[in-house]
């Protein structure tokens, strides 16, 4: 099979871009509503690029919580990307110069898209996927800050299904092909649900532990079938 190219990366980024844009618009207008400057709002999305964490941070800033505590919460919420980057880095050889750019663009969504590719990953593919997704996030933030609430509420609400629909659409063909995809995913989802609703640990810990537990269980259950 041919290696994936940057064209494949651009195409794969379409649903991510579509999903990011309206969420980032919301971030931009929320930031404006708490009187954050344009430069701060822009820097938030352009330098941090971390969906849910940015909303969490905004709330914490509004509540007057200190920088150290915010950083710790965000660290835990995003530590799952360590596992995702490890998985990607085991599949593609990258030039030292592009590593920082590609690594910066690893998110739940870009990881989900790239990791399920059966063809060989390439630098061009990863760059196109991550940078296009990034541009959707930054462009949405700027648009939201400047234009405010311009999307009709009905459309805004409907689009919020987009990224979850994408996760499911990525998972489905895998589940159809192999038992292990379905079993491991379901296990992770169930563990995360129990941990999240139990309230004993934070959302960041819940997702990290459920990924590690389900992947380990997968190794044991499917030990003899590869």
């Amino acid at each position: 099979m041919k290696k994936l190219t940057y064209i494949d990366g651009l195409r794969a980024a379409i649903p991510v871009f579509t999903g990011y844009f309206p969420i980032a618009v919301t971030f931009g207008l929320l930031a404006a509503s708490v009187n954050m400057s344009f430069l701060h709002t822009f820097s938030f999305s352009a330098l941090v690029f971390a969906g849910a964490s940015q909303f969490v941070a905004l709330n914490m800033i509004k509540a007057g919580i200190g920088a150290g505590e915010i950083a710790l919460a965000v660290f835990l919420l995003n530590f799952r990307h360590f596992l995702m980057s490890a998985s990607i880095s085991s599949r593609v050889k990258l030039n030292k110069l592009v590593i920082p750019v590609i690594a910066f663009g690893v998110t739940d969504e870009t990881f989900a898209v790239a990791s399920m590719q059966k063809r060989e990953l390439s630098e061009g593919y990863m760059l196109a996927l991550n940078l296009t997704s990034y541009s959707g996030w930054v462009a949405g933030t700027v648009t939201g800050f400047i234009a405010g609430d311009f999307l009709p509420p009905l459309l805004q609400e409907s689009i919020s299904i987009c990224l979850y629909a994408m996760f499911i659409a990525i998972l489905m063909p895998e589940v159809k092909q192999s038992l292990k995809a379905g079993v491991v995913a379901l296990l992770a989802g169930l563990i995360n649900t129990v941990l999240s609703y139990s309230g004993i640990i934070s959302a960041g810990w819940a997702i990290i532990l459920s990924i590690i537990a389900a992947a380990s269980a997968g190794m044991i259950i499917f030990r003899n079938r590869e």
Binding site: F75, N78, S85, S158, I161, A165, A188, G189, I191
Partner: protein, 101 residues
Amino acid sequence: MDNLFTIIFLMLAVTYIPRAAPFYLVSTDSIPPLLKRFLSFIPYAALGALILPGSIDAVSGRPEISIPALFVAGIVAWFNSNIIASVFLSVAAAFIMLSFF
């Protein structure tokens, strides 16, 4: 407001380091087989944990709309592996349901 830049740069550090470190720690040539197997399960596990329980609340506070709309995405993806088609039809389903209910 300089304090805000302190927060932004701290957040940059704590989000970027976990994303970048593995690219320097894991080299494609020398991964122990056991670790490689573990890493090969991460995509499925991550997708599962990203979908549940968050997706139930995809349209905020409206599980009765989120679940059927995502069911549409699942059905379409089962028969056709075109991700964009699944996503589009799922958003359309949510739009129609939100218009009526």
